[in-house]
Amino acid sequence: MTQQSVSSSNTSDLTVIIDTGCANLSSVRFAFERLNANVVVSADFDVIRSAARVVLPGVGTAGAAMDALKQKNLIELIKSLTQPVMGVCLGMQMLASLSNEHGGRSEQDISCLGLVPTDIGELDSKGLPLPHMGWNQINVGNHPLFTGIENGSYVYFVHSYRAPISEYTLASSTYGESFSAAIGKDNFFGVQFHPEKSAKVGAQILQNFLQMGLNMETSQ
């Protein structure tokens, strides 16, 4: 299946993966294609605005990722979106207010999108190996993203920074300390793990995401 193919009967039911230029773009796209979703990768303002739902992917460091968004003038556009927006891994962290993952660029905290009021800091693994890499269990709340997902389900994580547990926590996990496996506020939410690499559980979460934003066109 190619990016151009339209497998959904409803051509307006478009999922757009924002082209941040980061490395895991194709993995995320392939995962949606396995679910027969109508998905494109784009940095085009009109395409992103027209989407039923938007994915913000990301790997690497917060500083580099925010620079990439700035270069493509995407920051204000993302902030203005009213449809469901899901960040994945670093994409989730970019929804937060700031990150102290400097990546050697400076001593300054990295200013993020500020859409979910929480701050990203180092994961305190209490002596366990870092990065936190592999399959870990999540406990989930009532968010529609986790419909049908049982507490204790395993998903795939790779990260060294995390959002702390807060009122914006949608799912949690534990590695040394407890941390947010998912955060969200209003139409913006994100997952720290990689649903595109989390076998059946991940596919269910992505399928749940595809159910969101189906009735959004009238409210645009």
């Binding site: 870092l130 990065p131 870990n136 990260h159 076998a199």
Partner: protein, 257 residues
């Protein structure tokens, strides 16, 4: 709780999965994508693909299969073999690999590790180490270019020193492959892996020697590694991944079922 990972390794040569004993006499096991999909279905937690010809023959791997694997399987996978530059690494990652593993080129130019880490983050930089026990000096040492017997050579690195060095330079994970026991299926080298575990702050994958389900239990319980890699026992159907995971779960090891 973080699950211990079971990682089938597929040695790739000219687009086919192969397996040799003690890194020699490679025989074809099967096609890449169907084998990868089968292992994912059976419950593999991750896959590693080593193009064993690449480093030794100074040739870049044919990457079209990387994309085909990424399209079809929904678990993480790592690609290794002849990655010497940032651009070669970027290409594998862009095709859908989750991690890249560097072995011989890192020994030739250790600065490659830090340059890759600066560019992509340490989470996708895996260092493969081929270590062997040198009876003459009663020490563990690192070999280079093990993909080709004629090109294989000793290095000046003691295993412990190289493990420290690659972490300092920013790797995100280490695969320790113990040469003496590879393919012999006599069990993982618990002594050596425990020694490396004690100085390894990043995730550690044990490789080489798996022959029975008990060997997996031992390496998780005794050497406390994060993941166990094996090839021939899975390719030859000696151990079924689903049964292995049930066995480990019954033995109170954290496993994703």
């Amino acid at each position: 709780m973080l699950a211990k990972r079971i990682v089938p390794c597929l040695d790739v040569r000219e687009g086919k999965v192969v397996k040799g004993v003690q890194f020699r006499n490679h025989e074809i096991v099967g096609d890449i994508v169907p084998l990868a999909a089968r292992y994912a279905d059976e419950g593999a937690d991750e896959l590693v693909f080593y193009d064993i010809t690449a480093s030794a023959h100074d040739r870049v791997i044919d990457k079209s299969w990387v994309s085909r694997v990424a399209e079809q399987i929904d678990i993480p996978f790592c690609v290794a073999g002849g990655i010497k530059t940032i651009e070669q690494a970027r290409e594998k990652l862009a095709f859908g690999a989750d991690k890249i593993s560097i072995n011989s080129p890192a020994l030739t130019d250790p600065s490659l590790i830090s340059r890759l880490q600066d560019e992509f983050g340490r989470q996708c930089i895996v260092i493969g180490i081929d270590s062997y026990y040198d009876a003459e000096t009663d020490s563990y040492k690192v070999k280079q270019f093990t993909g080709d017997e004629a090109a294989t050579k000793d290095t000046q690195w003691y295993t412990q020193d190289w493990v420290e060095e690659v972490q300092k330079r920013g790797c995100g994970e280490i695969v320790l492959n113990v040469m003496n026991q590879d393919g012999v299926r006599g069990g993982y080298d618990i002594k050596q892996l425990s020694m490396v575990r004690a100085i390894c702050d990043v995730p550690l994958i044990a490789s080489g020697g798996a022959g029975t389900m008990e060997h997996f239990k031992d390496v998780f319980e005794l050497a406390k590694v994060d993941a166990a890699l094996a090839a021939s026992v899975f390719h030859k159907g000696i151990i079924d991944i689903g049964e292995l995971k049930q066995y480990l779960h019954a033995n109170h090891i954290a496993i994703r079922l």
